[in-house]
């Protein structure tokens, strides 16, 4: 019971991509890894694809809340960013394959965001049954939280770094995680003195690993614009983005063996609108992101 509760707590925490600042390599199988190993390649794709979509959209969010970048001088901002992707009804079920020869050949069952898995009976002998797993994560908004450091400015260029790790918990009931992100933005409006808005372009790369089996990567390239009104900043942007989730494990399904797949996140383009308040060295900001995945991000910052 202690392990079960700890696993659930830790999974909830890690889903927020959390907390402690050190990372310990996982030495043994975690509960999450054990769960994934029950799937063959076809089933695990449908089961976990929504996580690839939603987490990918989260990773590429919250990189900016203004397009104003000074051309020179030291700027520094330490920020805490929270983001969340909306979980739709479509993210909660998928079409799974039954074993070869089973009738029906396919059935609808829960993804990792669904509720109860479906059990089907063979059309010709109801004692022959096959089941899908239950969902694990109950969420209407799939969250992520990261610390972020922004440093500038060199010829109107600002650099952003994200880094956070969680150690493995409770005898490796959940594996260690590491999130790393790095990016740069460059002021375009410095070349356009008469520009009514601040304009910048940026590129960001992110990675996130869970134990030895899950590896996310994200890339975002975009342009941003903002306008300041006293303490109020309005900002927005367009971005092309890509995210992938690599999954490597050995399946326990008979005859399957090693599974090594790469799932692409659904979001490839986003339109961002947001607003922020700057009060001396404190900043608070929030934005909405629209694309294949609807995503929200916001945070607080301390800097100059």
């Amino acid at each position: 019971m202690r392990t079960k509760l700890a696993f659930r707590f830790v999974l909830a925490v890690v889903l927020g991509m959390t907390v402690l600042l050190s990372s310990t390599p996982a030495r043994s199988q975690s509960d999450l890894e054990n769960a994934l190993e029950q799937f063959d390649i076809g089933s695990v794709t449908g089961y976990i694809q929504p996580m690839a979509d939603l987490f990918g959209a989260n990773m590429n969010a919250g990189f900016y809340h203004s397009a104003a970048i000074p051309t020179a001088g030291l700027t520094l901002s330490i920020e805490l960013i929270g983001m969340g992707s909306l979980v739709s009804d479509d993210d909660k079920t998928y079409t799974a394959n039954a074993p070869a020869g089973f009738s029906p050949a396919t059935f609808q069952t829960a993804t990792i965001f669904g509720e109860n898995g479906t059990t089907i009976s063979h059309d010709l002998d109801p004692t022959i049954q096959f089941s899908g797993s239950d969902g694990i994560i109950d969420a209407s908004l799939f969250p992520l939280a990261v610390p972020q450091l922004r440093v500038g400015s060199i010829y109107g260029t600002e650099f952003t770094v994200r880094l956070i790790g969680t150690p493995s918990f409770d005898d490796d009931a959940f594996p260690s995680t590491t999130l790393f992100g790095i990016g740069a933005r460059h002021s375009v409006s410095q070349y356009i003195p008469a520009a009514p808005l601040d304009i910048a372009v940026g590129l960001f790369y992110s990675s996130f690993t869970v134990g030895e089996i899950i590896d996310f990567k994200g890339l975002s390239i975009g342009a941003q614009a903002s306008k300041s009104f006293s303490v109020l900043d309005l900002y927005g942007g367009l971005a092309w983005e890509q995210s992938t989730m690599d999954l490597v494990y050995t399946s326990t399904v008979p005859g399957v063996g090693k599974v090594d797949i790469e799932l692409d996140g659904d979001n490839s383009f986003r339109f961002t609108v947001g607003a922020g308040l700057s009060l001396a060295v404190f900043h608070i900001f929030a934005d909405a992101n629209f694309g294949s995945i609807t995503n929200f991000s916001g945070g607080i910052g301390l800097g100059f």
Binding site: M17, N34, A35, G117, D134, L141
Partner: protein
């Protein structure tokens, strides 16, 4: 310490605000592994071309120890019979199962050329009418489900006869049960 506290507060805020939690309970469809028998058939004596072999599989072997929580349900989705080794004759046999407190129960019968069984012959294919070499006993799977649900050691037996003698010593009949246990971590 202050930094960790601030991060914890933020994460708590994000998670609480998102309504994100873990389903309680949740059950994973865990594959039953190794519930099978591999029987070495001795065909060296032309006067004794029958076989009757048994293998007992411990519950601790076929149930995944990583899912030690409650068993919500058990399902069986296929049984296969396979031969291994070079032999030119035919094989006819039965698959039986038993576990403590339950009678020996016939699960399926099989017959055909030895070579045909080198490809596992599936109960599912038989149900679809695609495989005349294996005949399942309707309802017998419920017997196996009961044993697995009770986490019993299960004995799989195969009895039968072959059509002609052979000096080969590496001839096997393999019976495998495929199923799932809905279990919590």
């Amino acid at each position: 310490m202050k930094r960790n506290l601030l991060l914890l507060l933020l994460v708590g805020f994000v998670i609480a605000g998102s309504g994100c939690s873990i389903f309680d309970p949740f059950f994973i469809a865990v594959n039953i592994e190794g519930l099978s028998g591999r029987y070495n058939i001795d065909m060296s004596d032309p006067a004794a071309l029958t076989y009757d072999e048994s293998v007992t599989v411990l519950a601790s072997d076929y149930l995944n120890p990583d899912f030690s929580g409650d068993i919500e349900d058990v399902s069986i989705y296929d049984i296969t019979v396979q031969t291994e080794g070079d032999y030119t004759g035919s094989v006819n046999g039965e698959v039986w199962a038993s576990y403590p407190g339950a009678p020996l129960t016939l699960i399926a019968t099989y017959s055909g050329n030895w070579d045909v069984f080198k490809t596992p012959q599936s109960l599912l294919q038989a149900l679809l009418g695609n495989n005349p070499n294996i005949i399942p006993q309707l309802g017998a799977l419920g017997f196996l489900v009961g044993g697995i649900n009770a986490e019993q050691d299960i004995t799989l037996s195969s009895t039968g006869f072959v059509s002609q003698s052979s000096a080969a010593t590496n001839l096997f009949v393999i019976v495998a049960v495929f199923g799932q246990v809905l279990a919590a971590p």
